[in-house]
């Protein structure tokens, strides 16, 4: 049916809630870990209660100072970062950041990164039963910290981490994967086999910037993760491929900056999305997207977000202009 003939839907009727395995979200707009601080920072600018979920900055077992500056550099339609998981460690998070997060009505998904499979499991066990946590996201893919061990590049390790965490706690689990592999579907299937409730796709794409006159890398850490609009086509491609390879729901991440991007990810197969870098340059982007979401669903004649997910028409004939 051509778009113009679609039944208009009154926006108030639209159902925005989505299900990610055992985790229910009031709406599909989440904020990506590492791009929203610990949420308290944004309280003056954003109505936090409207967000589908908040993912605070990834925590590690022990405090980490992070990488030396410069930690970020803008690139064409994106940015490179090598923050290096600067954080005060799990205990400080539970003591200082979680009480505020727990006081919000919003769903809280805590992002954790371990240096070993055992550490992931230990962190999950430590967080079990701690008030204010609704789910865990396993950041197995941070390009700035793994010492050659990347849990999201080795399918066996990935499955072990996910199944270990699944046994250690009762929280729904999102496994966040890296695009920096030859075939993400292999890793995605491993995370599914390990018992992940959903997959978060994607973390940043490994990149680099150079000052040619000084013959030096720009970032203190030499390599960094590319994010922002520049990586959206990569993220969409990965959501497309993984949607065909697994049965669990997907969370699309990468370059989302407006309602059009959100709709593209939903249609390609993501059940929810995370907004990352756009929070930096458009601090109220998430609520702007939420304002626009019902009308966008209405434009497709849909009454709920869930109805739109994965409705890509893969007919290869070219689009006609209307």
């Amino acid at each position: 049916m051509p778009l113009s003939q679609a039944e208009p839907v009154r926006t108030a009727e639209a159902r925005l809630d989505v299900q990610l395995g055992r985790l229910r979200l009031a709406n599909p707009i989440m904020v990506a870990s590492g791009t929203f601080g610990y949420a308290r920072e944004m309280a003056g600018l954003v109505d936090l209660s409207r967000l589908g979920a908040i993912l605070p900055k990834t925590i590690t077992r022990q405090p980490r100072p992070g990488n030396p500056p410069p930690r970020t550099i803008e690139t064409a339609a994106g940015m490179l970062n090598s923050i290096g998981l600067d954080n005060d460690g799990l205990e400080a998070f539970v003591e200082r950041q979680l009480p505020y997060l727990a006081s919000l009505k919003t769903t809280i998904v805590v992002s954790i990164a371990g240096e070993s499979c055992e550490e992931f499991v230990e962190m999950a066990a430590r967080l079990e039963g701690v008030p204010g946590i609704d789910a865990l996201e396993l950041n197995m893919s941070c390009p700035n910290v793994s010492h050659g061990v990347d849990f999201a590049t080795d399918p066996r390790l990935c499955e072990r981490v996910v199944s270990g965490v699944r046994k250690a706690c009762s929280y729904p689990i999102l496994a966040k994967l890296t695009p920096n592999v030859t075939d993400v579907t292999v890793i995605a299937r491993a995370a599914e086999a390990g018992g992940a409730d959903a997959l978060s796709l994607i973390n940043t794409c490994l990149g680099m910037a150079v000052h040619w006159r000084r013959r030096r890398p720009v970032l203190g850490n030499v390599l960094g993760g590319l994010s922002g609009p520049a990586i959206k086509p990569i993220a969409l491609r990965i959501v497309y491929q993984v949607a065909k390879a697994v049965k669990i729901p997907l969370v699309g991440i990468g370059g989302i900056a407006g309602i059009d991007d959100v709709m593209e990810f939903l249609i390609t197969g993501a059940t929810a999305v995370q907004v990352g870098t756009a929070n930096f340059y458009n601090p109220t982007v998430c609520t702007r997207i939420l304002d626009a979401l019902p009308a966008a669903l209405g434009e497709l004649g849909m009454r709920s977000v869930a109805d739109v997910v994965g409705t890509l028409d893969a007919d290869p004939s070219p689009l006609h202009r209307d």
Partner: protein, 286 residues
């Protein structure tokens, strides 16, 4: 314990009211944004962005230069002074009156407004921008913030302002008109003292009638040298850091600088929310 949150920031479209040349590569842009103008304090900054653009993508931090009153006498607009150095600031020079930009602020801590007999403002290059509003506050000419901050007037406000070459000096007459005693230096000797602006600190401090405090903003090497001179002279000194920023609101952890605590240990601190103004003695420069 002070909170480090951008709780008073506002984000939205702002209209350009003026965009004029002040000196070589140096421009003053006036933005209509009553929400920011009403709240902003000297030493705070805002993030400015060209809307709809994905390259440049991120906002750029620019310090408050001045607050301009509207027809009703209430704070209405903000003046920023910028040096065209790169991608965003070069595009900004071509933005016309009536255009819409995107801004968020006020951001950062601003300068402490504690009583001082002699305030010595040390500026290197475009680092002069935070000082016009600070001078107004300390000369009792304007109150900033919501509610407006009362500042005990200083007896003496000096500006030591150094640039590479005389044609880069911007706003000198404005400072003089307020009653600031201005001391200029150029590296090429084209105007004022020939050499580094930090050479002017000790003579100006010695002219103080009463207790002196130094505030500085400019290249890090200048601020590092100033911090050392202030230490030797036994004069309190604050620096306003110009760390590159991506968000300005404390959520990205890009803008960190090594800052020492009371016990001498350093930790990476976000200059956008915990600064940009720090005690010079606490900053680990390199």
């Amino acid at each position: 314990m002070p909170t480090h949150y951008a709780d008073h920031a506002w984000h939205g479209p702002v209209t350009v009211e003026e965009n004029v040349t002040l000196a070589r590569d140096t421009y003053r842009i006036r933005l209509a944004c009553p929400e920011i103008a009403r709240r902003v304090l000297p030493g705070q900054f805002l993030m400015l962005r060209l809307p709809g653009e994905s390259d440049p993508l991120l906002g750029r931090p620019l310090a408050l230069y001045d607050v301009v009153a509207g027809p009703g006498g209430q704070p209405h607009s903000i003046d920023l002074v910028y040096l065209a150095v790169g991608k965003m600031t070069r595009l900004l020079t071509a933005v016309g009156v009536g255009a819409t930009l995107e801004a968020w602020g006020p951001l950062g801590n601003g300068f402490p407004l504690t009583p001082t007999k002699h305030l010595l403002m040390l500026a290197g290059g475009i680092g002069q921008t935070p000082f016009l509003a600070l001078a107004r506050a300390y000369l009792g000419l304007q109150r900033y913030g919501d509610p407006p901050r009362q500042v005990v007037p200083a007896e003496q406000v000096s500006l030591c302002y150094g640039v590479r070459s005389g044609d880069l000096l911007a706003g000198v007459e404005e400072f003089r008109r307020l009653g600031v005693s201005v001391h200029l230096s150029t590296e090429d000797g084209s105007l004022g003292y020939r050499g580094l602006v930090t050479d002017l600190i000790a003579p100006v401090v010695r002219q103080s009638a009463g207790a002196c405090r130094i505030v500085c903003c400019g290249p890090e090497r200048m601020m590092q040298a100033a911090a050392e001179i202030a230490r030797q002279l036994g004069v309190p000194c604050q620096v306003s850091l110009e760390s590159p920023m991506a968000c300005g609101i404390g959520i990205c952890f890009s803008c960190v600088k090594k800052i020492r605590d009371g016990s001498g240990h350093w930790d990476y601190r976000r200059t956008c929310v915990e600064g940009p103004v720090f005690e010079a003695a606490d900053v680990e420069f390199y």
